[in-house]
């Protein structure tokens, strides 16, 4: 009994570890692929070489990130079987075909056209090359669509029956694919990927603006990234709100944990900004909250009653502290993103966007924020689904493969060592590439003077706009 529990916990840690590492790369490459598509499209349309240089700059980074995404993804497709074979046997008939569709429609498309995108410039026509870039971008989005459908089905299962050997069997594919939480989750994740990329691009732009405010590539990427922040971050808040309402409808217990609602509130529930969840006593210690705001946000009514975890047996509750905190981290970062977008609009209006070192520093600090928010969001939704793998139907403890704890522990250690070493190196290379100034290699003026800098630059770089 104790032995079995250990294997379950170890397998969960292993899955959490490998999937968390994995999601970092797609979260970045979904957004970056679309960005590359936009850059190449703008280059073809305007023939402005700044776009082409930016395309080549980010393409190298994309190649490394995508490679890490591919190899860490292969791990995922086998991990279902090695550690969660009972889950695979039972849920395979429903989620297996969706994943097969992901491979057939998305993975092949990305991988097939990636070669042309990376190596084909000059070998094929510009149009055909652009089509390849579009296919890669489209592939990343298709992949997100299928895998989010799978994940959403595990959260809000629909359209299935259960056969005599206990397998989930499909009854209505439309209901399975378009299960109740899928549209919300998909929009929320794709926007998150776009925001993640925007803040990375913005941070790199900001870094190079701090070094050289005139660098046209740095200005362009910073400007584009800040447009994304200003437009997409507020949209994400709206999408997140819809997603939360949907979660309350289908997985109310998860929302109770997110909100720290240990007790029921018959006359309007407060929104807790802070608190220390106390699992033993089933209460929120040191709680600081705004009365009735939670009811307003989720039910759009100040006095709407909301049930709390006191209505849920202990063994069917998710681990509240993790869900409570990861949710707050995600929301906090989201708010900061909105703020950055808003400040960027103000600076743009005042024509100071490229001339605000303090803001550039802030943008650099925000560079990794998207990754943290994505991870925190996924931890909220995945840990919030516990103790189930298929919500309401299959317990996590009943999903595990018949492998013994030492085997899972050994493979877990191997994954940790290998991932930190290899993906650590990859991240270092990406940072190194980001540290390199975008644009052509420009020799420094031999005797730099205050006035010569910009004129010389303009002489060497006809595409550079004169300084303001």
């Amino acid at each position: 009994m104790f032995e079995a529990l250990d294997a379950v916990l170890l397998a969960r840690i292993q899955f959490a570890f490998t999937v968390s590492f994995h999601i970092i790369f797609p979260a970045f490459s979904i957004g970056l692929a679309s960005y590359l598509m936009v850059l190449e499209g703008l280059w073809l349309k305007t023939e402005n070489p700044v776009y082409l240089r930016l395309f080549k700059y980010w393409r190298k980074i994309f190649a490394v990130a995508f490679g890490m995404g591919v190899v860490s993804g292969i791990v995922m497709s086998y991990q279902f079987g090695t550690n969660w074979s009972v889950f695979s046997d039972k849920a395979g008939p429903v989620i297996g075909p969706l994943m097969a569709y992901e491979v057939l429609t998305a993975f092949f498309l990305e991988a097939g056209f990636l070669g042309v995108m990376l190596f084909g410039l000059g070998r094929v026509s510009n149009t055909l090359h652009f089509v390849s870039t579009i296919m890669v971008a489209f592939g990343t989005l298709l992949s997100a669509t299928w895998i989010l459908s799978v994940n959403s089905w595990m959260q809000t299962p629909a359209g299935f029956g259960i056969n005599e050997v206990g397998q989930f069997v499909p009854e209505n594919w439309m209901e399975i694919i378009f299960n109740p939480s899928f549209p919300y989750r998909l929009v929320h994740m794709v926007l998150a990927a776009y925001l993640t990329t925007a803040f990375v691009v913005g941070a790199v732009g900001a870094l190079h603006l701090l070094r050289n405010r005139q660098n046209p590539e740095a200005r362009k990427m910073f400007s584009m990234a800040m447009w994304m922040a200003a437009i997409v971050a507020p949209l994400q808040v709206v999408a997140g709100d819809f997603h939360g309402i949907n979660t309350y409808e289908h997985q109310p217990v998860k929302v109770m944990a997110m909100e720290g609602h240990y007790e029921s509130y018959p006359e309007g529930a407060p929104l807790y900004l802070f608190g220390i969840p106390n699992e033993e006593e089933q209460r929120l210690d040191y709680a600081v909250g705004i009365p009735k705001l939670s009811s307003l946000i989720i039910k759009h009514d100040l006095n709407a009653p909301m049930k709390g975890l006191d209505t849920v047996p202990d063994e069917l509750q998710p681990p509240v502290p993790i869900v409570f905190w990861s949710f707050r981290i995600m929301v906090g970062i989201g708010m900061l993103m909105v703020l950055v977008g808003f400040v960027s609009l103000f600076l743009r209006w005042r024509r100071k966007l490229y001339d605000a070192p303090l803001f550039h520093r802030a943008a650099m600090l925000m560079g990794p924020s998207g990754f943290v928010a994505v991870l925190a969001g996924w931890i909220t939704t995945e840990v919030g689904r516990q103790p189930y793998t298929v919500y309401g139907h299959l317990m996590t403890s009943d999903s595990i493969a018949p492998v013994e704890a030492p085997a899972v522990a050994a493979s877990l250690i191997a994954f940790i060592v290998v991932y930190f070493a290899l993906f650590g190196a990859g991240t270092l290379y990406i940072l190194k590439m980001m540290n390199k100034e975008p644009g052509e290699v420009r020799p420094l003026p031999e005797t730099p003077t205050r006035t010569a800098g910009t004129t010389q630059l303009a002489a060497q770089r006809p595409d550079v706009l004169p300084a303001e």
Binding site: V94, P97, W173
Partner: protein, 333 residues
């Protein structure tokens, strides 16, 4: 008529075969990587597969995902049974996969990534051979789960299969290099292609004779009349192809050895199929028993029939874009 599980068994076999051939040659290049003469030879060898390798590896993901989708019970039994070789294989694939980009990004540590590429390719191949061998030798099943021990996959037979596959992939890799490169690199490739061809054919012989000894059921298929008449073409064709391969390597016909090697793999694959069918977990679970419900299989079949030709179409397109001998100066790095 064929029923849905049989069709899916065929489609899965096809994707695994495509995987073996495609990733086989780029893993094979990893296996011979340290034996190439110069850094520039290694650059060219790697560039010859850089545009296509992750497309090649996607077939492995299809193999895993397809098995889970079409035969969830088989997936649930095979993965825990072959826990260690699968985990080691995917970790090895991580080592070699990252090398494709890393070695260009960090010239100071290029040697480390070359090692990572070599050992990753070698170990991944060896593990695939072990998986194959363990599969052929049979997997113990208890109810709807794996019933054997941790080390059942580790036997003289499976280790032999592992080494055999290393030789086989080296053959695919070197003959690919013969086809795609020129000069000194091509000469080196010819030398190692001959060695790996001899080793491959030797191992094919050993494994073919060993397999029937594992089970009377397999022996019956190969050595009794009238079944013998149906299976006889396999060894006959193998002998013919081996002769063509030898001729291509000795007379240095650049375009002959690679397709012939693929043909040899196809024949081995067919031989394997004869030994295994109608099981999906040999001698324990049949294709029919492991199959997902028809509603799952049909839903996927519609997509597969539309998408697989398209995938094959643009895969061919990619190979066509990068056709001919590799230009040593090309690449975006």
């Amino acid at each position: 008529m064929f029923d849905l599980p049989t069709v899916w068994a065929g489609l899965l076999a096809l994707s695994i075969f495509i995987y073996v051939v495609l990733d086989g040659f780029d893993l094979g290049i990893g296996i011979v990587f340290p034996f190439l003469k110069s850094d520039s030879d290694r650059d060219v060898a790697m560039n010859s597969v850089a545009p296509v390798w992750d497309g090649n590896e996607t077939w492995l993901v299809l193999g895993g995902g397809g098995l889970m989708a079409a035969f969830p019970l088989a997936y649930a039994v095979v993965m825990p049974a072959l826990y260690a070789p699968f985990i080691i294989m995917i970790l090895a694939l991580v080592f070699r996969g990252v090398a494709f980009e890393y070695r260009w990004r960090d010239k100071a540590h290029e040697k480390i990534w070359d090692q990572s590429f070599f050992y990753g390719s070698l170990i991944a191949t060896f593990c695939q051979g072990i998986v194959l061998g363990a599969f052929v030798q049979g997997i113990e099943v208890d109810g709807r789960a794996y019933g054997g021990g941790w080390w059942d996959w580790f036997t003289p037979f499976t280790v032999t299969c592992g080494v055999a596959l290393v030789a086989g992939y080296a053959l695919l890799g070197t003959t690919w290099l013969i086809m795609k490169t020129e000069g000194e690199l091509r000469d080196t490739a010819y030398r190692y292609a001959k060695l790996s061809a001899l080793a491959t054919l030797g191992f094919v012989g050993i494994v073919s004779l060993w397999t029937p000894l594992l089970s009377p059921e397999i022996a019956e298929r190969w050595f009794t009349f009238p079944q013998l008449m149906f299976v006889l073409p396999v060894p006959t064709l193998t002998a013919i192809l081996a002769a063509i391969l030898g001729w291509g390597l000795i007379t240095k016909k650049d375009q002959v050895a690679f397709p012939t090697s693929i043909g040899l793999f196809a024949l081995c694959f067919a031989g394997l199929g004869i030994g295994i069918s109608p099981y999906i977990v040999p001698r324990a679970i049949t294709i029919q028993e492991a199959a997902a419900p028809d509603s799952s299989l049909l839903f996927m079949l519609v997509g597969a029939l539309i998408l697989l030709p398209i995938i094959i179409g643009y895969t061919v397109f990619t190979y066509w874009v990068f056709r001919g001998k590799v230009d040593p100066d090309a690449g975006y790095h």
